[in-house]
């Protein structure tokens, strides 16, 4: 494989991991925009979603649903259903955490909320580890061999095409939700100025609930897609995802969902492409360096407004 096609190959992987980072970053950015705090538990909410999907998957496999894989994908109906249900369930978990914890801390300084979220992160991760143990769990044990595309000899798995398409659909869906629906507009208004939104009659508590649901559902979607790509999930997976996600949010502009999409793609692409030049073990460092540089030269991020 020559150098050009190698770069294009890595860019292809970058789009796949960028899609996953994007889905995680949107949720983090939304909660920051509305609740004004950096939610360190977001990565572990992702992991929780991934394991909820595992529960549903095992359940459906036992229910004797038609489980033959959707050709040419490596999985079938049970995983698709588990994927949808885990988004709903993770949204529920997020609301539960909010009413049990964050709601009581509403109006306190953002550093208090941040520390509380670190606590939530630890609790979630350790509960997952307690139940499932630290070793990888597999959604599907069947390995999918990647296919060669006619251009440049690039390789891609059918599952990866699925990941890109699903992520794109979710992002488009979110765009219409934010711009066309009443709740979406209310969310943007609350994000701009919560007090002003309150006096103009927006039920901000309801907006906060919706923010948690959407952010966490997208995070869960990202986690399951990552699980489909990697073939396995671990309890610590969410924590490992947190750095690239934060980098994406900061790069795109904190609080801006569109910035998160852009940031996610840039981080995904640059991390993967970097491996053509530096040792693969340094891949996570790339996201970190981009984050630091961005904070130094343009702390508001690419699309940050405030």
């Amino acid at each position: 494989m020559d150098f050009t096609s190698r770069i294009f190959q890595l860019a292809l992987y970058g789009i796949v991991s960028g899609s996953i980072i994007t889905l995680g970053a949107i949720g983090l950015s939304l909660t920051y925009g509305i609740l004004k705090f950096a939610n360190f538990a977001h990565g572990d909410v992702m992991a929780t979603g991934a394991f909820l999907a595992l529960i549903f998957l095992n359940l459906f496999q036992r229910l004797a649903l038609p489980s033959s894989p959707f050709h040419p994908l490596s999985f079938g109906l049970p995983l698709v259903l588990a994927f949808i249900l885990c988004m709903v369930a993770t949204g529920g978990v997020a609301i539960g955490i909010d009413s049990a914890l964050y709601k009581r801390l509403r109006g306190t300084r953002s550093i208090t909320l941040l520390i509380a979220s670190v606590g939530v992160a630890f609790i979630l991760r350790n509960v997952l580890q307690f139940i499932w143990g630290p070793d990888p769990r597999y959604y599907i044990k069947k390995i999918q061999v990647s296919v060669r595309l006619p251009i440049l000899g690039l390789r891609i798995k059918h599952d990866q095409v699925f990941i890109i398409i699903v992520a794109a659909c979710l992002v488009i869906f979110l765009h219409f939700f934010l711009t066309r629906t009443r709740m979406g507009k209310a969310m943007r208004a609350t994000s701009d100025n919560m007090d002003l939104a309150k006096v103009s009659g927006i039920d901000t508590e309801k907006v906060i609930k919706w923010t948690w649901v959407i952010g966490s559902a997208l995070a869960a979607a990202g986690a399951v897609l990552a699980g489909i790509d990697n073939k396995f999930i671990t309890p610590s997976f969410g924590w490992d995802m947190l750095l690239p996600i934060f980098a994406a949010v900061i790069l795109g502009g904190i609080g801006s969902p569109y910035g998160a999409m852009l940031g996610g793609m840039v981080i995904g692409l640059s991390s993967e492409i970097s491996t053509a030049f530096i040792a693969t073990s340094y891949k996570p460092a790339v996201a970190f360096i981009i984050m630091v540089v961005m904070l130094l030269i343009k702390p508001r991020g690419l699309l940050g407004e405030k």
């Binding site: 070793d135 990888p136 390995i143 999918q144 798995k157 073939k231 490992d240 693969t280 073990s281």
Partner: protein
């Protein structure tokens, strides 16, 4: 009222003194094993080997009138955690010797507390050639062969199978690096060509980059020197990336976790190497007793682990009753000074589950020579065992089965 409470507390205190004084404190031996982390599938079956030895020693009446007790602590397959666990075994649990750890990197780290504390550390599984030259004041031993032997057998195996080219993907720690280098030397000395030496870091979500580097030039085989958890990820990605060559595996990849793992269909018939077991008569009896107590396993090193514990028990017995009055440091030193006497010739040969006879011989002041279930166990001046065997195993029907045993002995 206050006086009454003070009185009662005093009585309880005195009672507790007499109780601990009356009951015989067991002699504690530490076990430093990976119960979580990359080697988690290996830890429990291996430590069961030591449990079996402890049980048999106690059945033979214990040592010096005391029961033997095994204190197990988890290393999480991480050097820092292992070091901390070793320190706790010595200072909190007050053990007189430690068996472990599994990974050479963890053994290295742990030795940095066991050596200054004058506590013997016997590893049943750390195979890195780099352990041989450790500055250890003679406190670090192992009952497993150094990878200097395994790497040579791997290299010869690759040549015998007619491979002209190979790449190595190895875990970036003393075990992986040591084995990879010996393999490379042997394979290239025999005319083979190593296309790439690719180290990998543990616990990464993806090893695509590493696999891509290793499959450049389509090597006939990839020598995968890894632990099961990450090794499975590497295998999955190699298949996904369309690698069509075969594999050679190290001892870390032996077992159901890999043979029956996610890449099971793609590695049927592939070969690997692992230290031991030698063709030892007592191995059968050991396997039978082990299976009865803990169920069958194909994980290696439960036999070397048994032998490590047996040797410590015999060494303590050889020190004699004065052992009980020593400080922890003196006990450690005494065990060190008696290990070779019970392990090496000359002396009357004692073997598996012969503790009662061995203890009696020692009481009579006779020399003994323990020949274990994993081999004769002869410690050289580095604390390495010099005689043993390398087995060649094959993945078959979701399990690893032994194909051939190659006996080796250092000069």
């Amino acid at each position: 009222m206050k006086k009454v409470i003070v009185f009662i507390l005093t009585v309880i205190f005195l009672l507790s003194l007499t109780i601990t004084g009356g009951a015989q404190e067991p002699i504690k031996i530490g076990a430093l094993f990976a119960l979580t982390g990359g080697l988690a599938p290996f830890g429990p079956p291996i430590v069961s080997g030591a449990k079996l030895a402890v049980e048999q020693v106690n059945k033979a009446g214990g040592i010096l009138g005391r029961r033997l007790e095994l204190v197990i602590r988890d290393t999480a397959t991480a050097p820092a955690v292992g070091l901390d666990a070793a320190s706790k075994l010595i200072h909190l649990d007050r053990v007189v010797a430690i068996i472990g750890a599994l990974s050479s990197g963890v053994t290295f780290a742990s030795s940095s507390v066991t050596i200054p504390a004058r506590i013997v550390l016997i590893s049943p599984a750390s195979t890195s050639p780099m352990l041989t030259d450790l500055e250890d004041d003679d406190f670090v031993f192992r009952t497993v062969l150094s990878d200097a032997f395994q790497g040579v057998v791997q290299g010869k195996l690759a040549l015998d199978l007619g491979y002209k080219t190979a790449s190595v993907i190895y875990v970036n720690n003393p075990y992986g690096k040591g084995l990879a280098e010996v393999f490379k030397n042997e394979f290239e000395a025999g005319g083979g060509q190593v296309l790439a030496m690719v180290p990998y870091e543990e616990n990464k979500p993806s090893y695509r980059g590493e696999v891509e580097k290793a499959i450049v030039g389509a090597p006939a085989a990839i020598n995968l020197i890894a632990y099961p958890v990450d090794g499975n990820k590497v295998l999955v990605q190699a298949v996904e990336l369309g690698y069509e060559g075969t594999y050679i595996f190290s001892d870390g990849m032996k077992g159901e976790d890999v043979a029956g793992g996610p890449a099971a269909d793609y590695i049927v018939g592939t070969l690997g190497t692992a230290p031991g077991p030698m063709e030892v008569e007592v191995a059968e009896a050991f396997e039978k007793d082990y299976n009865e107590a803990f169920g069958p396993t194909t994980v290696p090193y439960n036999d070397t682990c048994y032998d490590a514990l047996a040797l410590i028990a015999l060494a303590i017995k050889r020190v004699g009753p004065s052992f009980l009055d020593m400080t922890q440091e003196q006990q450690g030193t005494a065990i060190r000074d008696n290990l070779r006497a019970v392990a090496n010739p000359p002396g009357e040969i004692v073997t598996y589950n012969e503790f009662a006879r061995a203890f009696k011989l020692l009481e009579e002041g006779k020399d003994i020579n323990y020949e274990g279930v994993s081999g004769p166990i002869i410690f050289d001046e580095h604390g390495d065992t010099i005689a043993g065997a390398i087995e060649i195993w094959q993945n078959f029907e979701g399990r690893a089965r032994t194909v051939r045993i190659v006996e080796v002995r250092a000069e």
